[in-house]
């Protein structure tokens, strides 16, 4: 049971990152590799806010959400929008978002230095709870709850809200969306803003959970999150959650039964197998894209 719960909690972190990631990937069909930098920025800026202003955690989350949203809009404006209409937009967006992420990280280093930073020890009292004979921390439970509720809220948002309808319209046919009077630019921006807001909050929660934030944390999770969104299903929000949990449990099982040195092999092996064993069409109706 402990194993299983450990896996679930580990996976919920992956899922948290992946949900924001897959929102842009799945809906706008763009792979935003600056997402890892946003994750890091959310963590570091969150620490800064708490250290400077001493705000409590429940106030921090909305502040970081706003910060992440602003970053998302910048990413869309700077790294993606200028590429609109280019035949290699997918591919160029990959590179331009890498560049954007690199710039963001070096600016973060300029502001906060390269040292690992942490939240002040008293921001979230570690409480341990016994569930079904296993020990878990309250924070982990909170993160799991946040992941699940974000997934539900977002799924609802995409499926039912006007914004979500706009997103799906753009995903299916951006040209038709423009004809219908949808402000394609604004909806794209909003999607990026949502995605990055989630990414930034994920960074804060992640940092709270492991008590360490350095410039490299986003990078470490990024590859796993890629695995998660492929395993869970490209662009599917519930898939991102389930994929995250599967991966988390698989890794924990790998640690216990295969050997911890091969743990990361599990993530990539799983990713590789899924890609090979299931024709890419199964992940969605999306056609192949030119890269």
């Amino acid at each position: 049971m402990q194993l299983f719960l450990d896996g679930i909690f580990l996976g919920s972190i992956y899922a948290l990152f992946a949900i924001g990631f897959t929102l842009v990937f799945g809906i706008l069909d763009r792979l935003n590799l600056a997402h890892a930098a946003v994750f890091t920025a959310g963590a570091l800026v969150g620490i800064e806010i708490v250290t400077r202003l001493g705000v409590p955690i429940w106030l921090l989350i909305p502040m970081v959400l706003v910060f992440g949203a602003v970053l998302g809009i910048l990413i869309e404006r700077i790294a993606f929008r200028p590429l609109a209409g280019r035949h290699d937009a997918h591919f160029a967006g990959l590179i331009s978002s890498i560049a954007f992420g690199a710039i963001l990280l070096s600016l973060l280093q300029a502001m906060y230095g390269a040292d690992t930073r942490r939240f002040p020890a008293d921001i979230f009292t570690p409480t341990r709870v016994e569930i079904l004979g296993a020990t878990v921390s309250l924070l982990q439970v909170v993160i799991l709850i946040i992941s699940v509720s974000l997934m539900i809220v977002l799924t609802w948002l995409v499926a039912k809200s006007k914004l979500g309808r706009g997103m799906r319209t753009i995903a299916e046919n951006p040209h038709a969306a423009a004809v219908l009077g949808l402000n394609v630019g604004r909806i794209s921006s909003t999607t990026f803003a949502l995605s990055s807001a989630l990414g930034a909050v994920a960074g804060v929660l992640f940092t709270l959970n492991v008590n360490a934030a350095s410039l490299g944390i986003g990078h470490a999770v990024e590859l796993k999150a890629l695995a998660v969104i492929v395993v869970g299903g490209m662009g599917s929000l519930p898939g991102a959650l389930i994929g995250g949990l599967i991966l988390g449990v698989a890794e924990v099982l790998a640690v216990n039964y295969i050997g911890s040195s091969w743990r990361d092999m599990v993530a990539f092996g799983l990713l590789f197998l899924i890609l090979i064993l299931r024709p890419q069409g199964l992940f969605g109706a999306r056609k192949t894209r030119e890269v």
Binding site: D115, N211, S214, S260
Partner: protein
């Protein structure tokens, strides 16, 4: 058109080859002019020209957090030493961006620019690529943070003041066994980092020597931050202690999470754990962590007290072992320069070979015949939020 381009490219590269081929012959001979030798010895030594000191650290990229502290400490050291008088140093610090390829270029630049000695680079694996270049060009190198095996074996120009894990860890393990009666341990280390892996090997050897049973060996990645799964597995082994070879990035979350899930046994760490960040980051969870280290922040050595005060004043952060070793490195170089009273490469090399009991922030340091540092290692235990000496 393409044909022309190609022939241009071929000619261009041929030209390039010719030029570099020629210049190799005339290269690398000496440092600028002859103004680097002076008169007198030791404290009386006077050298007119400033001695060019070059340092290559990882200021950006994955190892930036170590490089930044090294640079700060080195600049502080140069400032302090230049105040003494007689000998002045001109420091150039370059960034290798945690990329060995960059470091190679940085070393080339330093060698060509006439640096008397090169300090660095930050990472051992980078050093294995850069130090041979300096060795070939007969430029002395002082590593201040390279702890992996095989660094000084690269050649007779390669020195280091950083204690290897082999020289620290056996003392740590011995102290833990003697004082705490540890009999059975779980070993954890990150297996994708040269430093921590060699630390692990030292631990494994030392544990064997002390007849300590290793119940389990677990590995993680240096970028990992969530260790709960591993720790839960470790917990099942019911060991007396957990031995960890990891960097400080891993140390803080690992220690915090171990306590969180209810592991109350001592945690024994290597050099990587020796950082004020452990106390600041893990807080109460750090209690009972045992760290074998080359440097103790709590040491009452005058130089060390002053160093910590100055560093904290200058950079608004407490120094860590990396900073201390960088500072000490410059003190050792100063000793070598003054003993020969020369800033020439050969003389510095000779001087470094004779370093014996030089007082530094690390304590009295000597360099042995293998050009490795010899000084007392300390075994510390965290008590009441402080590193205190165990042995």
């Amino acid at each position: 058109m393409t044909r022309k381009l190609l022939s241009a490219a071929v000619c261009g590269s041929a030209l390039l080859l010719a030029i570099t081929g020629c210049s190799t012959a005339t290269s690398t001979e000496s440092t600028a002019g002859g103004g680097l030798t002076g008169s007198g010895t030791g404290a009386d030594c006077t050298i007119d020209s400033p001695i060019p000191i070059a340092a290559s650290f990882s200021l950006t990229g994955a190892a930036a957090q170590y490089g930044a502290g090294q640079k700060n400490a080195l600049e502080l050291a140069i400032e302090d030493l230049n105040k003494v008088g007689g000998v002045t140093y001109a420091l150039t610090v370059e960034d290798d961006a945690t990329d060995p390829k960059q470091a190679i270029q940085v070393f080339d630049t330093f060698i060509a620019a006439g640096a008397s000695i090169i300090i660095g680079p930050t990472l051992s694996n980078t050093a294995k690529q850069t130090d041979p270049i300096a060795q070939d060009a007969q430029v002395p190198v002082l590593g201040v943070s390279n702890t992996a095996a095989g660094i000084t074996e690269i050649g007779d120009y390669i020195f280091r003041d950083s204690l290897t894990e082999e020289s620290v860890i056996p003392q740590t393990v011995k102290a833990a066994v003697d004082k705490l009666g540890v009999k059975k341990v779980v070993v954890m280390y990150s297996n994708d980092d040269a430093f921590t892996e060699s630390g692990y090997q030292a631990f494994a050897a030392a544990l064997k020597d002390q007849n300590v049973e290793v119940a389990d060996t677990l590995t993680f990645s240096k970028s990992d931050t969530d260790f709960r799964a591993l720790l839960n597995k470790a917990k099942q082994s019911d060991a007396d202690a957990i031995v960890v070879s990891g960097l400080i990035d891993a140390a803080v979350p690992l220690v915090s999470q171990a306590r969180e899930i209810g592991i109350d046994t001592p945690i024994i760490g290597g050099n990587g754990f020796n950082s004020p960040a452990l106390l600041a980051g893990a807080g109460a969870a750090a209690e009972g962590v045992i760290v074998g280290a080359a440097w103790n922040s709590a040491s009452d050595n005058d130089q060390n007290v002053k160093f910590i005060a100055d560093y904290t004043a200058a950079y608004d952060a407490a120094p860590d072992q990396f900073s201390a070793q960088a500072y000490a490195g410059m003190q050792i170089i100063d000793d070598a320069v003054r003993s020969e009273c020369s800033g020439e490469r050969e003389d510095i090399k000779t001087g470094l070979g004779n370093v014996k009991d030089v007082p530094t922030v690390l304590g009295d340091v000597s360099l042995n015949e293998n050009r490795d540092a010899v000084h007392d290692a300390l075994v510390q235990i965290v008590q009441d939020g402080q590193f205190t000496i165990l042995n």
